[in-house]
């Protein structure tokens, strides 16, 4: 694979508003391999970079369906097919009694889908990431606001993009090594 010499350029901002404004400009300039890094979820930046993603919701729906089928199927299999027992002529398939366990397994598998699906889509756990090479990046989990244009973006150009980022009034622009 032809790997670019650096991972990307990381602009640091001192306020959330500065980051939001910059995110809109970066998106308008046509950059696509862009990500912002913030200490709390910022709806405005997600909006600016068009990062909304409904995959998690679909995974949760599928997880819930799988849970409901497993829960109900297991009980019907046990009571009707595998070990039918005639208790005072009562029906072996008495569906109301199967609802609580079906419900609980629906919730359980949907919750698994939400958490593990979210982690998988985000590519976590990921112990190493090039951004951690920038010492200042530690502030992304505290009070720093960052925006990174990655080198694999088609419009990326080491000098030109750095100049462009400087124009967005960051406090600093860092080069990110791999």
């Amino acid at each position: 694979m032809n790997r670019p010499p650096i991972y990307g350029l990381l602009a640091q901002f001192d306020s959330p508003q500065a980051l939001v404004d910059a995110a809109y400009k970066v998106h308008e300039a046509g950059f696509h391999k862009v990500d912002a890094y913030t200490p709390y979820p910022m709806e405005e930046v997600i909006e600016a970079l068009h990062q909304h993603d409904s995959k998690v919701a679909w995974l949760v729906f599928l997880g819930g369906c799988a849970g409901a089928l497993t829960g109900y199927g297991m009980q019907v299999f046990a009571a009707v097919i595998d070990y039918p027992m005639n208790v005072a002529g009562k029906p072996t398939h008495s569906w109301p009694m199967n609802i609580p366990i079906t419900f609980e397994l629906t919730i359980l598998l949907a919750a698994f889908a939400a958490v593990f699906g979210m982690l998988a889509l985000n590519g976590l756990p990921m112990p190493y990431h090039p951004l951690f090479n920038v010492p200042e990046f530690k502030r992304a989990t505290q009070d720093g606001f960052f925006l990174c244009i990655e080198a694999r973006d088609a419009r990326f150009d080491r000098e030109g993009t750095a100049r462009f980022l400087q124009g967005l009034k960051p406090t600093e622009v860092h080069e990110v090594a791999h």
């Binding site: 990500d35 709390y40 995959k55 998690v56 297991m74 009571a79 985000n122």
Partner: protein, 462 residues
């Protein structure tokens, strides 16, 4: 910041004291974990809790050696402290889920500074609750017979039994609560990783944070997952206590067999849980000087929720009386008379004092704003909710249909040792949590700062 005397104004609408920034919130909350020496209060409570954990270990050890005969339960009262404590603990857990999930869906921002703490409380309370059904089995090492696994006997668990539903409800509840709590912790673990000076601590927090870097792409999915988890936990928490109430209401014992039970139990659970959140929050916010974050507005709101759910519980007591009278059933009527004037009458009247009379004080402002008075009301509710389960379980069982099968129940020292032991386990886990993990969600606190709320997107607003 820490030396400044805190001026509290009960009418303040602030969720965070004025003057805080992203940096100061991060500093103050993470300092409790990373740099500050724990206050004396922490040390004292931790020591007491540690001693009680040992009491628990001894009582469980002796129980496994000798058998359930060391407890006072015997026919006709085959269920006693073990199930009372189970229901009490699991009810306490419910407030955590209510605060973290239901209040999130209702967009109640005041939940932010108390949700982490309340979720931890849920987890530890469920751990204490789960212990009781396990140890009250005669042969606890065969607990896995409760699970549907391919056995060599070719048998399945009885899926039509409420006790089996309990197994599924409680394990699902414990698992989902753990996931919810952990997902909420991930961004804060990353904060601790980036702030810890001690390389071993940084390594451990780093492992747990799984490489979280605050990417907005990640946040987008994270927020979606978090919201969905809240949406899943909301019906879950209602189902758990409903299923617990089925353990009783599906039986035919007078005093148990009532359609009222599910909502009555759920309201009682939230009531007990809020009392426990306040019981812990009042001393802790003072000891760790967190009045800036857990403000009087939070405390008052919790007091209001407690009053409201307390009234629902009282409605339940009134309906129990009404059902007994309106049923015209001699056994139901006798059960109620026996509850009020029989050998356990003391417990019923104490219950009414604790759960009916004491919370009425919350109508008066001093009881919602003076921490000592509010703490006293909470202690009444904690005791009252335990007595409620005692009344429901013991007074219903000890005299049912046939006078020839009546009997009395007296708890033994081991019943009390196990119960207080679990209180110790709960406090031990709670105070360990406070020392090693941020007890307030730092990333969510940042969201409610004025600096964050002023941010505008392109449309000029949210």
């Amino acid at each position: 910041m820490s030396g400044r005397p805190v001026q509290e104004n009960p009418d303040s609408r602030h969720l965070v004291a004025p003057g805080h920034t992203f940096a100061s919130v991060t500093d103050k909350i993470s300092a409790v974990v990373l740099t500050e020496k724990p206050p004396l209060f922490w040390l004292i409570m931790f020591t007491i809790a540690f001693i009680l954990v040992n009491v628990l270990l001894v009582s469980i050890g002796y129980l496994f050696y000798k058998g359930v005969g060391i407890w006072g339960n015997n026919i006709p009262v085959g269920w006693a402290f073990d199930i009372i404590n189970f229901v009490w603990w699991i009810g306490i857990g419910h407030a955590g889920t209510l605060i973290s999930a239901i209040l999130l869906l209702l967009r109640q921002k005041w939940r932010t500074s108390i949700n982490r703490f309340a979720e931890a409380m849920t987890l530890f309370a469920v751990a204490c609750a789960g212990l009781f059904p396990l140890i009250h089995m005669g042969r606890p090492w065969l607990f896995y017979w409760l699970l549907p696994y391919p056995t060599t006997f070719g048998l399945w668990p009885q899926f039509k039994s409420p006790l089996m539903w309990d197994v599924f409800a409680v394990t699902t509840y414990a698992t989902v609560s753990l996931l919810f709590w952990f997902v909420g912790l991930i961004p804060d673990l990353a904060t601790l990783r980036d702030r810890a000076k001690n390389p071993i601590a940084a390594r451990i927090y780093g492992l747990l944070a799984m490489g979280w870097r605050g990417s907005t792409q990640h946040w987008a999915r994270y927020e979606a997952a978090y919201l969905l988890l809240a949406g899943l936990s909301t019906p879950l928490v209602l189902s758990v206590h409903t299923v617990v109430s089925f353990d009783f209401s599906i039986g035919i014992i007078p005093g148990w067999h009532a359609t009222l039970f599910p909502p009555y139990f759920v309201a009682g659970a939230i009531y007990a849980g809020f009392a426990m959140v306040l019981t812990l929050a009042i001393p802790i916010r003072k000891a760790f000087r967190l009045e800036d974050f857990i403000t009087l507005r939070h405390i008052q709101n919790m007091a209001w929720v407690m009053l409201a759910t307390g009234m629902m519980v009282c409605y339940g007591y009134a309906m129990e009386l009404f059902f007994a009278w309106y049923s015209g059933n001699i056994y139901e009527m006798f059960m109620m008379k026996n509850r009020m004037f029989g050998p356990y009458a003391w417990s019923y009247w104490m219950l009414l004092l604790c759960n009916l009379a004491a919370p009425q004080m919350l109508w008066f402002k001093p009881f919602r704003t003076d921490m000592r008075l509010l703490f006293a009301v909470c202690m009444f509710v904690n005791v009252g909710m335990w007595l409620e389960r005692f009344v429901i379980i013991v007074t219903s069982l000890h005299r049912d249909f046939l006078p020839s099968s009546w009997g009395m129940y007296y708890p033994t020292i081991w019943d009390f040792a196990t119960f207080f032991g679990t209180i110790g386990l709960f406090l031990f886990l709670m105070f360990s949590f406070i020392k090693f993990l941020p007890m307030i969600s730092i990333s969510e606190m940042r969201m409610i700062l004025p600096e964050a709320e002023a941010v505008k997107g392109k449309g000029g607003g949210h």
